[in-house]
Symmetry: C2
Subunit: 369 residues, 2 copies
DNA sequence: TATTAGCACTCAGGAAGGTAGAGTGCTAAC
DNA sequence: GTTAGCACTCTACCTTCCTGAGTGCTAATA
């Protein structure tokens, strides 16, 4: 069966209503509000068709209709318009964004906070992944007789540091020399390229009197290993889920909050949209949002998520960049009954803003080299 | 009315039962389990007395008795014994504690994680406060032509760093010289002592050709200001509250989780035991736990907490030290129906262990100076 | 005088039943 | 193709009733 214009209107209307009210939508209600001059009986017939086609569902016989995942997907791809942020919202965003232009990880944390406050959903931001970055500088800073600080900076501005203990016999001059050596040997390589073999190379290349510094190399090796494993993700506004009747059951709330507490699961859940998108790109038909001049906002609806906990939630994400390289992503998680057009508009706006900040901070001086 | 030996036994028994079951305890139950050879009627009379004295409460006429805050306080101060950790628990702790001896803030985060896993309550740890620490070293590390990294280390091993932009005209040698100057001028001062006036002093003492570096000083000023305001607190195991019927009401759970989400409130709640204790010390009678050779474990029960959200919860905390100085605290939050003796034993153990680690890491080299 | 048996009383919580209202599907008329 | 009308279904909510746990009080007992 083809989905006619009228059916589209009705579907659109049902979804809008349901997004706003969280109550199953009845035919009478649509007949009155849509203003098509149709009776509830006609709407009823159309809705029965839409249900047959899989766009709507009925919780039980005598309830109204509720959109299915398929319905939301159709809505997202074909029906919903671009939401225009109001002046009030823009001002709010502006005020929020004024703070905090310090360290990159703090910027990301703030971004997640803003997003959750701005959308009233649960927001997240993944920290920049370092492993693709090349080492820009590596520095050893003596702290006291028996410890030094190792500082790693990549060309994307990401920074890691760690304090390590060393033998008290090592002189400051020694450390400086060694620092220079490391800089020479490691600068320009990506963290992925620096593996145990590489470290071993340096060790053998070093003169024997550097031997007592070997522990430092091991520490660097450790740091890099840690960085590889690390998947920092900031989650903000977890308690926002209490705003939605979808989670008003204690067990559901618990399940969801436990999921959010486990950063690893969250990271996993966030990887999915990416994968799904790659698959989707093989298919000829492109999703609407990929075409436009916007940050590429991805949407995963309900069962499109692989993780069981996420089966009744939706995820909306966008990447953020330094230069042309994807650094990480940010987005929101909420019930499938999400205000998608608002969500997309808001995420789009924040991610663009974020890109601007990051590129001012880091990209300019990358270019100078 | 004086509290006789038998009443003590009954109170003890009621509280133990209630801690284990979360159900109001009836006279019949006590008569059977306590094995005093008394009938339920006698117990009933005694319980009525205990209620009159304020140690017990009745949710409603036909329910059993429940301990009041006063009851718990009496239990904690006078009745409960020292819980001995089982071998199984000790092994568990040992296994957990093997990980992660890296940065101080990570250690604290792990400590909170361990504590929550170990006790099954919600745990927290406050990050070390820097402001009492004296600056051990301050270092400027050039990162690229237009940015440098400022690193602050205090004698307690706490470290802060921040990347700042500078004019591209500044040469590396200049930065090094300036770095040395800062080291000379600021080392040994506590962060509290370094205020705007102090910074201004340095500015005027500097030769004019250092002028372009003034922004760096401002940044240092900023960092110090930030540090003053900062109250990092790690909260772990928030979803543990779902294990307790006390929070099985959605609104209560929500309220509590929102409270935990707001780090500022948490910090505030944690400061209270300290204040309460200071007041208590004025009074002649000392709480039991302050006397012994243990980490000083503090307990705040129910309404003893000032914050409204905390009125039906208890907080158990201990400080951790580097050398003789309190660096921060760690502890747990749970329902007033908490297994206090276990909680105290576990926190005591972890905080001692933590002290050991921290002092090995940091105190030894403090002494060397 | 302290303890206990006995009994009437209270109350929360669950089961059973009954009702109202929202919404449907179907049929027959327009 | 649309609509009015109607019988039907199902949930949500309310009321009522009942049970069981636990109490307080009284009178008898050691």
């Amino acid at each position: 069966m083809d989905i006619g214009e009228r059916k589209k209107q009705i579907l659109h209307s049902v979804i809008n209503e349901y997004i706003a009210s969280a109550e199953p939508v009845g035919s009478r209600h649509i007949a009155k509000n849509l203003g098509l001059g149709l009776s509830s009986a006609t709407i009823r017939n159309e809705m029965a068709d839409l249900e047959e086609m899989g766009y709507l569902e009925q919780p039980h016989t005598s309830a109204g209709r509720v959109p299915s995942d398929k319905g939301y997907r159709y809505y997202v791809n074909e029906l919903m318009g671009d939401y225009q942020l109001s002046l009030k919202e823009l001002n709010m965003l502006k005020t929020m964004m004024q703070f905090q232009l310090g360290q990159l990880d703090k910027v990301m944390k703030s971004a997640a906070d803003f997003l959750s406050q701005f959308t009233h959903y649960t927001a997240f931001a993944t920290a920049p992944e370092m492993k693709q970055g090349a080492i820009k500088t590596i520095e050893l800073v003596p702290i006291d007789v028996s410890s030094i600080l190792i500082i790693l900076v990549t060309n994307e501005g990401v920074m890691k540091n760690r304090r390590v203990m060393i033998s008290p016999n090592v002189t400051v001059e020694f450390i400086h020399k060694f620092s220079d050596l490391l800089k020479e040997k490691l600068s320009g390589y990506t963290l992925e390229e620096i593996n145990v073999v590489k470290i071993q190379e340096i060790k053998t290349a070093m003169q024997t009197n550097f031997e007592m510094l070997f522990p430092i190399l091991d520490f660097i090796s450790d740091i890099i290993e840690d960085v590889r494993k690390e998947t920092d993700v900031y989650v903000s506004g977890t308690t926002n889920i209490f705003n939605f009747p979808e989670y008003s059951d204690l067990d559901k709330a618990r399940e969801f909050l436990e999921f959010l507490d486990d950063k690893q699961s969250v990271t996993k859940a966030l990887k999915e949209p990416e994968i799904a998108e790659k698959e989707a790109e093989k298919a000829p038909k492109k999703a609407k949002e990929t075409g436009k001049d916007k940050a590429k906002v991805r949407i995963m609806i309900g069962k499109e998520n692989q993780l069981d906990v996420m089966r009744s939630s939706s995820v909306v994400t966008a990447n953020y960049y330094v230069g042309d390289r994807v650094m990480g992503k940010l987005g929101i998680i909420g019930p499938t009954r999400m205000d998608y057009s608002k969500a997309v508009a808001k995420i789009d706006r924040i991610s663009r803003y974020l890109n601007k900040i990051l590129n001012e901070l880091y990209f300019d001086d990358n270019n100078k080299e």
